[in-house]
Symmetry: C2
Subunit: 335 residues, 2 copies
């Protein structure tokens, strides 16, 4: 009788995990956002964009879809929204192009897919997903990645689709400033001077009804980046990582530092190997190791129990979540 | 007096570390090598190539050069040797091109540089080093990486330089076999059928007189890889990682699995976070986690105390080392 009770109890708690605990967390980049730095109208537009992304992903999770599907759905919305630096609205490279990177990882199978430096795929996250599902590869770059994505049915757009006047004006402003600087013989990688965000990567992490985690990230990279530069967003272990045994992570920030720190995997390994909580692991990497090395940025994370974290050492970060019970929040500034 | 003794003793042991403990370890890829599978003449050529690489790197370490310089020098020799799948002698992609990847990391500063998909740089490891030393970036790909490398003074060659008849014949053999397979409607990523090696990446890890570690890797990738495919070799944390506090690692193998496992960083994190020895950490990742996921390949590793490891779950791996005291070995087969 006692064993039957234990058995039934186990089944119940298992099925309650199955039926309830889905969570979706998204981010839209980290940067110099402070209250009052964004007009009320624009703030409403950012919030609306994040709400749409939450809705798209949550609809899938609620209906029994997978974490991977939810991550793709949420990121597609952010890619299509020209306010965020991914897909339409991507920033310009120094050569005046839009070069897009994206990656996705499935925490159940540790399968992963990524594309780097694509210029024609409307939704780079769908190309990353195609690399994961339909190729023997993990990372594909440039023209080869574009040809593969087209073959797999991803929507292809002319390069002009990604151009927005706001990002174009930003790169033009930087060029003018650079010309001035060059006259003063002082050269470095100039950061974008868009006051809304410095690192406009978008990302999502999700936990589905089956207890599986997934993570995805998509970006136009850094404004004024060199032709061919690849940041952390398409790098599994740096910008994106998911493992059912630990957590799902998506990062945004000065990608070079996230690559050197192997940020997402370092957080996961602190959970797996040092038995830290997701919160402690993310805190150590983001608030200690990252600034120690001189980098900045932000991240979102989620574990299998539905614990959510976000850390950023920039003034603000676009971030939002929705839980199985309807609890939800959208935030932009430091609390 | 007692304190003076302790002080002198400390100085002596410090200076003995400074003056003696340099170590260089190299690899030339892992594969289906078994005794008798390579002709005596070819075996001698492989050994000669590895000896030349050891000499080039060791000369630098002996003369007080840095681990980073030694890694570059050793890898350049292997890239120039057409027997190894890096630089000259790189395998062909499915599109009939040679696309080269390389990366380097300095364990003292955690600075890193990498290039992916370059087709014109004679020594991709020098391009990776230029990205580390002379750009604000870590990873650059394709044409942008080539233009940067040329600007930094890396030697540029016509694409035809990388072609060797042996690798060209291999890709032609595979294409013929694929045509046959396609008739039987069976498609997958075909592995190279070169009996000498399956994964011909080259790499080096070094410890210099100053106690600093460095790691580097260079490859032509997998024979018959898709256009634009990037493996683990240029990915910091996957194919290459170095950190003075833990170890220096260079991997070779089925890159997709090394990316998904974030192999090199996973070994380092086992040392840092689970306090495992380099040997135990590498053993767990290479002989348990890698085959569990279905991958294969090899790695070399080195820690600050001069401990050397190599693991491979393929029949053989080209590998060699030389220590400060002249102790040296060159091996190809499983012991």
């Amino acid at each position: 009788m006692r064993y039957l009770f234990v058995f039934l109890f186990s089944c119940c708690s298992y099925s309650s995990v199955l039926a309830q605990n889905h969570v979706l967390v998204i981010h839209g980049g980290a940067g110099s956002l402070t209250p009052g730095s964004v007009s009320p109208g624009k703030e409403a537009a950012y919030r609306h964009g994040m709400q749409k992304a939450l809705n798209a992903g949550n609809r899938i999770l609620k209906n029994g879809g997978t974490a991977t599907d939810a991550v793709v759905a949420a990121i597609k919305v952010l890619e299509d929204d020209s306010l965020f630096n991914a897909g339409k609205g991507a920033v310009f490279t120094a050569a005046g192009r839009n070069e897009l990177d994206a990656s996705i990882m499935d925490g159940k199978t540790l399968k992963a897919g990524a594309v780097a430096g694509v210029t024609t795929v409307k939704n780079p996250i769908t190309a990353a997903r195609a690399v994961m599902d339909k190729s023997p590869h993990v990372l594909m770059a440039g023209k080869g990645a574009e040809l593969f994505a087209e073959k797999q049915g991803c929507t292809i757009m002319p390069a002009s689709y990604f151009r927005t006047e706001e990002q174009y004006n930003t790169i033009m402003d930087i060029r003018r400033a650079e010309q001035k600087e060059q006259e003063q013989k002082h050269g470095s990688l100039r950061q974008p001077e868009n006051p809304d965000f410095k690192y406009g990567t978008v990302g999502a992490v999700a936990l589905d009804k089956y207890g599986n985690l997934a993570a995805g990230t998509s970006t136009g990279g850094m404004t004024n980046k060199s032709f061919g530069r690849i940041g952390d967003s398409p790098i599994i272990g740096a910008g994106t990582y998911a493992n059912n045994n630990t957590c799902a992570i998506s990062c945004t920030g000065w990608g070079e530092y996230f690559i050197r720190l192997v940020m997402a995997k370092s957080i996961s390994d602190r959970i797996e190997l040092a038995h830290m909580s997701l919160d402690d692991a993310a805190n150590e990497m983001m608030m200690k190791r990252l600034p120690e090395l001189g980098g900045d940025g932000g991240m979102i994370g989620l574990d299998r129990k539905g614990n959510i974290v976000n850390y950023f050492n920039t003034p603000g970060m676009f971030r939002a979540y929705i839980k199985w019970n309807g609890e939800s929040a959208i935030e932009m500034y430091r609390k």
